[in-house]
C-alpha cells in the first residue's frame, strides 16, 4: 500500500510538470494551429536561466524561478514576433521547420555558453518528510503544489478575466475574434508569453530532482505532444488530464513493468490509442 501511494505521489509529480508544459503548448496551438517544437527548448532555456541566476548570481531559488519565467516568456514572445508571425500564412510544414530551427539554435546556444556537461540545480527544499511510512521529498510536494496552484490560476485567468477570454476567443475562432475587436497581435504575444513562462517555471520545478542539460527538453516536449494529442489539441482541460494520465502511466509503468522502458510508455500509449482512434481520446472530429 505504501509503495502504491509512493507511485501516486510520483505520478502526481510527473503529471504536474507535464501538465504545465502541455498547457503552454496547447495554448500556443490554439493561436498558431501548428505544434511548436521549440517549446521543449524554451523549457531547457528556463532551467539554464535559473541555473545561472542561482549559481552565478547567487540569488535564491525563487529568484531563479522568476528569472526563468521572465526570460523564457521574452524568448517566446520574440520568437512569435520574428518567426511565427511572418509565417502565419505559410503551409504547416514551414512552421514546423522554423520551430525546429529555433529549437536547434537554443540548444546549440546553451551548449556554446554552458558546455555539454550536466549541471545540478540547488534547491532549498532538501528535507524528506515522512507520513506514516510514506517518504516525501519536499521538492516533489512543491512541484505538486505549485503545478496545482498554477493550473487553477490559469483557469481563473482564462475564465474570469476579459484578457483571458480574448485568448479563448481567439483559439475558438480567429476571424470571429477579430470581428468583435480583439487585437490578434496582442493576444498572440500574450499567449506566447504565458506559454513560455509556464515552460520556464515547470523546468525550474523539475530540474532539482532531475538534472540540467541541453537536451533535457526533448523527452519532455515529446511527451507534451503526446498529451495534447490525447487530450485534444488546443484543449486546456485535456492538457491537464492528459498530463496526469501520462504522469501516472509512467510512474506505475516504471514501478510495475520496467524502469528501462518507462520512457517508451508515453509513446507506446500514443501509438496504441491513435491506432485504434485516429481522432485521439477526447478530440472531436478526425485529425
Amino acid at each position: 500500500m505504501e509503495l502504491f501511494l509512493q507511485q501516486v505521489l510520483n505520478g502526481l509529480t510527473l503529471g504536474g510538470v507535464y501538465s504545465l508544459v502541455a498547457l503552454g503548448l496547447t495554448l500556443v496551438y490554439g493561436i498558431l494551429h501548428v505544434p511548436n517544437f521549440a517549446h521543449g527548448a524554451f523549457y531547457m532555456a528556463g532551467a539554464y536561466t535559473a541555473f545561472y541566476v542561482i549559481d552565478k548570481l547567487g540569488l535564491n531559488y525563487w529568484w531563479g524561478m522568476l528569472g526563468a519565467a521572465v526570460v523564457v516568456g521574452l524568448i517566446s514572445v520574440v520568437s512569435e514576433r520574428l518567426v511565427f508571425h511572418p509565417l502565419r500564412n505559410a503551409p504547416y510544414l514551414h512552421h514546423m521547420i522554423a520551430s525546429i530551427g529555433i529549437l536547434l539554435f537554443l540548444e546549440a546556444g546553451a551548449q556554446a555558453i554552458w558546455g555539454a556537461d550536466f549541471h545540478r540545480m540547488a534547491t532549498p527544499y532538501n528535507e524528506i518528510l515522512t507520513f506514516g511510512g510514506l517518504t516525501m521529498p519536499a521538492q516533489r510536494l512543491l512541484i505538486v503544489g505549485a503545478a496545482f496552484f498554477l493550473v487553477v490560476l490559469l483557469q481563473l485567468f482564462l475564465k474570469k478575466t476579459v484578457t483571458g477570454a480574448t485568448i479563448v476567443a481567439m483559439a475558438q475562432n480567429r476571424e470571429g475574434a477579430a470581428l468583435v475587436g480583439i487585437d490578434a497581435t496582442r493576444v498572440a504575444m500574450l499567449t506566447f508569453a504565458i506559454a513560455g513562462a509556464l515552460a520556464g517555471i515547470a523546468a525550474v520545478l523539475y530540474a532539482p530532482i532531475n538534472l540540467v542539460y541541453t537536451s533535457m527538453g526533448n523527452l519532455v516536449i515529446t511527451k507534451a505532444f503526446v498529451i495534447i494529442v490525447l487530450g485534444g489539441m488546443g484543449s486546456v482541460p485535456g492538457a491537464i488530464v492528459g498530463g496526469l494520465i501520462i504522469g501516472f502511466a509512467e510512474a506505475f509503468g516504471a514501478f510495475y513493468i520496467s524502469t528501462d522502458y518507462k520512457d517508451i510508455i508515453a509513446f507506446a500509449l500514443l501509438v496504441l490509442i491513435l491506432s485504434v482512434r485516429p481522432q485521439g481520446l477526447f478530440a472531436k472530429g478526425a485529425h
Binding site: 498558431l32 494551429h33 501548428v34 505544434p35 520574428l82 518567426v83 511572418p86 509565417l87 502565419r88 500564412n89 505559410a90 503551409p91 504547416y92 510544414l93 514551414h94 514546423m96 521547420i97 522554423a98 525546429i100 530551427g101 529555433i102 529549437l103 536547434l104 539554435f105 537554443l106 540548444e107 546549440a108 546556444g109 551548449q111 556554446a112 555539454a116 480567429r174 526533448n218 523527452l219 515529446t222 505532444f225 503526446v226 494529442v229 528501462d260 522502458y261 520512457d263 517508451i264 508515453a266 509513446f267 507506446a268 500514443l270 501509438v271 491513435l274 491506432s275 485516429p278 478526425a286 485529425h287
Partner: protein, 341 residues
C-alpha cells in the same frame, strides 16, 4: 536564358564526382564526401515523402538505423556476408515502414509528424535498451567491410567511395524515374491537396503508403551503406537530430526538387568542415539559417531558381497553356496554409 540543359548538367556533376578522388588531397576528404553521399541517399528518400508527397516523417533517421542495424547485427552476430545483409537492409526498413505507415498515414499534417516523432523515439529507445539484440549503448563494433568482388577491394577508401557513389547515382536515377512517372504526379497531387486528389480518384492510403515505403527503403539502404562504411554503430544514429539534419539539407537545397536535397546534403557537411570551430555549435548558425530560409526562400536554392526560370518562360510565352511539363516544384504548396491562417 538557360545555363545548360539538365542532362548535360547531371553528366557534368557525375564526371566531377568520378574525378573527385583524384583531386582530393587525402583520404579524410574522401571520408567526408562518402558520408555526405550516404546521407544524401537518405535525404533523397525523405524528400520523396516530404517534398513530393507532403508528409513530414520525423522517424526517418530511425529507419536509417533499422537498415544500419540489419547489416550490423547480421554480419557481426550471425556471420552473414555484407552483401546479403546489405541487400536486406532496405527491405527490412520498408517492411517495418509498411506497419508504421498503415497506422500513421491515417493521420494528417502535423498529427502525422508527431506520431512519427514518437515512433522515432520508440525506435531509438528500443535500440538503446534491447541489449541482447543491438548491444545497447555499447554499440556494434567490428562490422566487416564489404567483401571484394573480383578485383574490387572495398577495404580501400577509394573503392568505398565509388561504391557509395554508385548507389547515390542509382538512387537519383530511380527517384528521377519515380517523380517523372504517373506515380510521381500522383504523389504531388496528394501533396497539393489530398481532398482534390481523392476527388480525382486517387487512392490516398495506397499511394501514401507506397511513397512512405519507398522513402524508408532509401533510408534503410543508406543505413546499410553507413554500417559498411563507418563499421561502427551506436543508437545515436536513430536520433531525431539526424532527421533534422536531413530536413535542413533538403530545405536549403530545395524541397521537392531532385537536385536540391543532393546539393544540400553535400554542401552543408563541407561548410561545417571549413567552419571547424562550429562543428559542435553549428546550429547556432544553421538554426537561424533554417528559419530565414522558410521565411524568405521557402523553395531553397534550386527551387527558387527553377521557379524563376519558369516565370521567365511563362512571360515569354503568355499565350501558351499552363506549363504542364513542370510538375516538380511545390508551387501550389502555400495553398495548404490558407486553412489555418
Amino acid at each position: 536564358m538557360k545555363l545548360m540543359n539538365p542532362v548535360t548538367g547531371w553528366l557534368l556533376l557525375l564526371a566531377l564526382a568520378i574525378a573527385f578522388p583524384f583531386m582530393a588531397g587525402n583520404d579524410y576528404h574522401l571520408t567526408v564526401m562518402s558520408t555526405a553521399y550516404i546521407y544524401a541517399i537518405a535525404t533523397i528518400g525523405l524528400n520523396l515523402i516530404t517534398g513530393y508527397t507532403g508528409q513530414f516523417n520525423l522517424a526517418h533517421s530511425g529507419f536509417m538505423a533499422v537498415g544500419a542495424y540489419t547489416v550490423g547485427i547480421l554480419t557481426v552476430d550471425y556471420g552473414v556476408s555484407f552483401w546479403l545483409a546489405f541487400g536486406l537492409s532496405g527491405f527490412v526498413a520498408a517492411f517495418l515502414g509498411f506497419f508504421v505507415g498503415i497506422v500513421s498515414l491515417r493521420l494528417k499534417t502535423h498529427f502525422f509528424s508527431i506520431f512519427t516523432l514518437c515512433v522515432g523515439y520508440i525506435m531509438y529507445l528500443v535500440i538503446e535498451k534491447w541489449e541482447s539484440l543491438t548491444h545497447g549503448t555499447v554499440g556494434i563494433m567490428g562490422i566487416p567491410a564489404p567483401e571484394s568482388i573480383g578485383p574490387l577491394d572495398f577495404s580501400e577508401a577509394r573503392t568505398q567511395y565509388y561504391l557509395v557513389l554508385f548507389f547515390l547515382v542509382a538512387s537519383l536515377w530511380i527517384m528521377h524515374r519515380i517523380v517523372h512517372s504517373l506515380l510521381g504526379r500522383t504523389f504531388m497531387a496528394i501533396r497539393n491537396g489530398d481532398d482534390l486528389a481523392q476527388a480525382l480518384g486517387i487512392n490516398l492510403m495506397r499511394n501514401k503508403l507506397l511513397a512512405f515505403m519507398l522513402s524508408v527503403f532509401f533510408s534503410g539502404l543508406a543505413g546499410g551503406l553507413y554500417a559498411g562504411y563507418v563499421r561502427f554503430l551506436g543508437p545515436g544514429i536513430a536520433g531525431v537530430e539526424h532527421t533534422f539534419d536531413m530536413t535542413m539539407y533538403m530545405l536549403i537545397g530545395g524541397i521537392g526538387t531532385l537536385l536540391g536535397p543532393l546539393l544540400g546534403a553535400i554542401s552543408i557537411p563541407w561548410l561545417t568542415q571549413y567552419l571547424q570551430v562550429l562543428q559542435e555549435f553549428r546550429f547556432v548558425v544553421f538554426g537561424p539559417v533554417l528559419v530565414l530560409l522558410v521565411i524568405f526562400l521557402p523553395y531553397g536554392i534550386v527551387g527558387t531558381y527553377l521557379n524563376r526560370q519558369r516565370r521567365k518562360a511563362a512571360m515569354r510565352a503568355p499565350a501558351a497553356p499552363a506549363p504542364a511539363a513542370t510538375p516538380s516544384a511545390p508551387a501550389a504548396a502555400p495553398k495548404q496554409g490558407a486553412t489555418h491562417a
